[in-house]
């Protein structure tokens, strides 16, 4: 497999690649982040005309929506599409494909080593431009930027798994220049044939990012400890989720939660008045609407083993609950039960769809 030396900024090079692919007719559409200059805002865009690529910023530390979630609605169009994804977005999409919510067949996946993304409130405040230079400097040194999402700082999967093309931006190149684009698959070689740039035979070396990995693992330890720092248990859970307003925004932006109607919004959990009377008879009081903790515990059992830690849930929470940190911490435990890593391998079944006859001998 070959590599391409990047002689400009990594983001620009990927934009050139998308342009080349669109203009040469190798792809019908591209999915990439885009900057809307007049509003100083960002969005994810589906672009079919190369002239519309001018505003594309394929590699930018902004995630307005988990692209994996959006991809599930377009991947089965039968058209050839190149997508630029952050590692956790790619992993989320793998999880969705396992759930028959998308297909890799006509996709060319381009991902990059990820320095983490800025929280949405910074995006909404129009602060990204101002923060970018420092951010790029920090990640080029293989360090962890302080003002990114908490789950990003604690993410050890910042090297893409299974991308057709990996762009190395973190740790091994200065200010985004002199980075390398690695073509990992035959599909990548085929698509990139004829694309400009100095070719080589470089192999991606994860050891160059050891410093970043160590720093992140340390952050992870801190983050996970913070979830139970005032003691674990019901009181702690009520402390964390007690202020939840029940908007279920965490669920609606979660790339894994693909259900059109979540169980917890269904008629299954509508109660008639005797339910409340019964509760009043022994609790003296109960919360309205009910089932706040139930929703979060339920969602943890339904999807935490597939949680990729993208952090969208925390970002959209109107009351600042560290949803993502809790889900990452618990998700790591539930996934470990099955030696499962969400997004690692599209051929791997999700743990609840399969079983082994000999396992969990301590249960039952």
């Amino acid at each position: 497999m070959s590599s391409i030396i990047i002689d400009t900024s990594a983001s620009r090079k990927v934009r050139e690649l998308l342009r080349f692919l669109l203009e040469s007719g190798k792809i019908d559409a591209a999915v990439t982040m885009r900057k809307i200059p007049e509003d100083s805002s960002y969005d994810l865009a589906l672009i079919t005309d190369a002239s519309n690529l001018d505003e594309a910023v394929p590699i930018v530390p902004v995630m307005t929506v988990n692209a994996g979630q959006v991809l599930s609605s377009i991947s089965t169009s039968g058209k050839k599409i190149a997508v630029v994804l952050k590692p956790c977005e790619l992993r989320a999409f793998v999880e969705l494909v396992k759930r028959e919510q998308g297909s890799f067949e006509n996709l060319l996946t381009i991902s990059h080593t990820c320095g983490g993304v800025f929280p949405l409130d910074l995006v909404a405040a129009g602060k990204i431009e101002e923060l970018l230079p420092k951010y790029e400097k920090i990640i080029s040194k293989g360090e962890v930027p302080a003002n990114t999402r908490d789950t990003c700082r604690a993410c050890e999967h910042f090297i893409p798994m299974n991308a057709d093309i990996t762009v190395a931006v973190a740790g091994d190149c200065e200010s985004g220049k002199g980075c390398v684009m690695y073509l990992n698959t035959d599909k990548a070689e085929e698509y990139a044939e004829g694309f400009s740039g100095e070719r080589g035979e470089l192999k991606f070396d994860p050891s160059a990012l050891k410093k970043m990995l160590d720093a992140r693992l340390l952050e992870k330890e801190k983050l996970f400890a913070s979830i139970t720092e005032d003691g674990p248990g019901l009181d702690r859970l009520l402390d964390t989720f007690g202020k939840c307003i029940g908007c279920h925004g965490c669920n609606s932006v979660c790339p894994i939660c693909y259900c059109l109607l979540c169980d917890f919004e269904s008629a299954n959990f509508d109660y008639n008045l005797p339910y409340f009377e019964e509760h009043l008879s022994r609790r003296a009081a109960l919360r309205l609407p009910p089932d706040t903790i139930f929703f979060h515990l339920g969602r943890l059992t339904h999807m935490s083993f597939s949680c990729v830690g993208c952090g969208m849930c925390s970002d959209v929470c109107p009351v600042g609950i560290p949803v993502a940190a809790v889900f990452r911490k618990t998700g790591e435990k539930t996934a470990a039960l099955f030696d499962y890593v969400p997004g690692r391998d599209v051929e791997e079944s999700i743990p609840v769809m399969v079983y082994k006859e000999e396992e969990f001998s301590d249960i039952g």
Binding site: G233, L234, L238, D291, I293, T330, G364
Partner: protein
């Protein structure tokens, strides 16, 4: 005088094995505590993780799933799936520091009346030690 604590153990029992086992315990006049509140399900895999959570949050002091022994499922593989789901719920509870001892999965066949009585007795005792579930009185759930 303080009222003695009588635990409530919501018990989801598979129709083919554990529920029949409970019946057998009854017809054999084996003693087991009234704390067991049986709910018949067609298979242990019918028990969605949220059933356990709902029972726990509604104040059940213990939640028991009774299913066929591995390999004996009436639907061939249901209990293997039940076991995985149970492992997930338990792990979620452990990671949040909730009392996962209040959740139990037990394999009890249709012929194991004595085992049913034993499990019911032992689990009730274990729950007695844990005391009343704090969720029973909590108002912010």
């Amino acid at each position: 005088m303080k009222k003695e604590f009588t635990p409530r153990i919501t018990s989801f029992l598979c129709k083919w094995c554990s529920y029949t086992g409970a019946d057998l315990a009854g017809t054999a006049r084996l003693q087991y505590p009234t704390s067991i509140i049986p709910i018949q399900v067609m298979c242990s895999s019918r028990v969605d993780p949220v059933f356990l959570i709902k029972a726990f949050l509604n104040g059940s002091d213990g939640v028991l799933i009774g299913g066929c022994h591995p390999g004996d499922c009436h639907y061939e593989t249901g209990n293997y799936h039940a076991r995985r789901r149970f492992a997930i719920v338990k792990s979620v509870f452990d990671s949040l520091g909730l009392e996962s001892k209040r959740l139990k999965l037990s394999w009890i066949s249709a012929s194991e009346g004595p085992k049913f009585a034993r499990v019911a007795n032992e689990y009730t005792e274990e729950i007695m030690k844990l005391g009343e579930n704090p969720t029973r009185k909590s108002i912010f759930l």
